[in-house]
């Protein structure tokens, strides 16, 4: 007998809570997914497409939906760490398929060779190349994200990626890199 009572009581409670949960699920529904925005903020915004997505935002959306977090080569380990922290998942090593040399670089147009075809301008995701048809183009160094998307489209191979030069401001106090010159 007591079992029947137990079943009835539990059944009633379950009914009640089920209704409550059903109500709550509709009443407190969260719209949108701010996670993708947060991930996007962590990405380096090179818009380089090395992750297999057309730009950083699409990759951020993909990560929010379960894509691997280790595909951003320009961001490197630092970015993976941050995303892992944000999403509460484990840090992974950079995907080998996406691992490249990620020293910061900027595009440089060898101006003698440029024929002004504007192909690189169209390829640049951040409008960092200026120039006009049949005129030589040039790279706005400060806007260039170093994504190297402009390199491939150039018909005359006049674009090369050059590492960013160290200046007094950007010097990282690496004393070992100082050449100790042998002066007589």
């Amino acid at each position: 007998m007591s079992i029947v009572i137990a079943i009835l009581v539990i059944g009633f409670i379950a009914l009640l809570f089920g209704a409550l949960l059903g109500y709550a699920s509709i009443r407190f529904k969260v719209e949108g997914d701010p996670l993708a925005e947060q991930i996007d903020d962590l990405l380096p915004q090179t818009q380089c497409g090395q992750c297999g997505y057309p730009g950083c935002k699409p990759y951020a959306d993909a990560v929010a939906n379960g894509e691997a977090i280790n595909k951003c080569a320009p961001g490197g380990e630092e970015t993976i760490k941050k995303i892992a922290e944000l999403m509460g998942v484990e840090v992974q090593a950079l995907d080998e398929n996406h691992a490249t040399d990620n020293t910061p670089k900027v595009a440089f147009i060898i101006e003698e060779d440029c024929i002004g075809c504007t192909k690189c301008i169209q390829a640049c995701p951040v409008d960092a190349i200026i120039g006009t048809t049949k005129q030589m183009h040039t790279v706005i160094v400060d806007e260039c994200t170093g994504c190297d998307l402009c390199v491939a489209p150039c018909p005359v191979d006049c674009i090369e990626m050059r590492p960013i030069e160290t200046t007094k401001q950007s010097w990282q106090w690496d004393l070992n890199s100082i050449p100790v010159t042998q002066v007589d």
Binding site: L175, V183, D184
Partner: protein, 360 residues
């Protein structure tokens, strides 16, 4: 010519961590001498055993971690840990106690956390606590002061007891612990605690043979020895004076209040000061910089907290001596203390700093 590149500052005070450690080791000498004089060779044997096994353990781990062995093994920290552990052990504990304790202190407590400077707990005390909870029987085999012992105990006898648990004449540890009158001896703290549970007053406990005229035969002098060593360290600026001062002062205060409240059930302030590991703890263990608080205010709190814990555990806890437990508990709270006693940085307002903390 080629010049040498280095980062400023190029000058240095030329003090060294290892020198600091050596100084602390020297400062333990008076206490150890007193221990030897009143309790015989037991602790000396344990200290040497502990040093040997600590060095072996350190060597083992350092070679596993592929560190610079000769430099780190003799930086004095492992030896100091072993000495402090050896001092704290009961004189007649079996040999494997000190070896296990030292190995545990070095391998688990120190090296597994990252080695010197990274251990959150004082290795010697953590090792001691491990031994105490694992081997309560062996860890309570305190030896009565030599003058109260029924049997004469030579250096060789002690060695024999430690390694075979019998003296050359066949006396067991149990027998050695007995008083001339046949009672089993305990430390003064233990005696007082037991008597209190039996309903005796403090005054009545003070008549006990182990306590003698003052606060415990031998114990008072051992503590005096460590006090002397500690003062030497403060004089040499090897340790900071705030922690021991705060500890001793607070312990005095707490025990004084309790004594005033009920002299029958609370031991006197000086009894607390000169018994157990009080002075050793105050000057050699709480001042361990690695596991202690760093700011002056923090040290003050650290010492006072330790004193409170020592007093509470001695009075209400299950174990008669509380130093090791108190130290470990304080070690745990040290990061928290540090967090809340950060000094105000030049040019920053206090409130702003507090806000930073909440953000952090």
């Amino acid at each position: 010519m080629a010049f040498w590149i280095a980062s400023s500052p190029h000058n240095h005070l030329k003090n060294k961590t290892s020198a600091l450690m050596r100084l602390v080791i020297y400062a333990t000498i008076p206490g150890i001498l007193a221990q030897w004089y009143f309790f015989g060779w037991g602790n000396l044997i344990h200290i040497s055993l502990a040093i040997a096994s600590a060095l072996v353990a350190e060597f083992f781990i350092l070679s596993l971690r592929e560190k610079k062995i000769p430099e780190q093994i003799f930086d004095g920290s492992a030896i100091l840990t072993a000495i402090l552990l050896g001092i704290s052990l009961p004189a007649l504990a079996p040999w494997w106690i000190s070896i296990l304790g030292a190995a545990f202190a070095i391998i688990i407590v120190k090296q597994l956390y990252g080695g010197l400077g990274h251990n959150p707990f004082n290795p010697a005390m953590a090792g001691y606590v491990m031994l105490l909870i694992s081997f309560p029987v062996q860890m309570t085999s305190w030896q009565p002061p030599l003058q109260l012992m029924a049997i004469d105990l030579s250096a060789f006898d002690t060695l024999s007891v430690i390694f075979t648990s019998y003296t050359t004449d066949g006396y067991s540890v149990e027998q050695l612990k007995r008083h001339i009158d046949g009672y089993t001896m305990a430390t003064p703290l233990d005696t007082v605690k037991t008597n209190l549970t039996l309903g005796l007053t403090i005054a009545e406990s003070m008549d006990s043979a182990v306590i003698g005229k003052n606060f415990g035969i031998g114990w008072e002098w051992v503590n005096a020895g460590f006090l002397l060593g500690g003062l030497f360290l403060i004089f040499k600026k090897a340790i900071d004076w705030i922690t021991p001062f705060s500890f001793l002062f607070s312990l005095f205060l707490f025990s004084f209040i309790a004594f005033m409240y009920s002299p029958d059930s609370n031991a006197s302030t000086m009894f607390h000061w000169f018994n157990g590991a009080c002075m050793l703890g105050a000057f050699f263990i709480l001042t361990d910089p690695v596991s202690g608080a760093t700011s002056n205010k923090g040290r003050m709190i650290f010492g006072a907290l330790a004193a409170l814990l020592v007093f509470i555990i001695r009075k209400y806890g299950g174990y008669p001596e509380a130093m090791a437990f108190a130290v470990l508990l304080c070690n745990m709270s040290a990061p928290l203390i540090d967090q809340y006693t950060r000094p105000r940085t030049y040019g920053h307002k206090k409130t702003q700093n507090a806000q930073d903390k909440t953000n952090a």
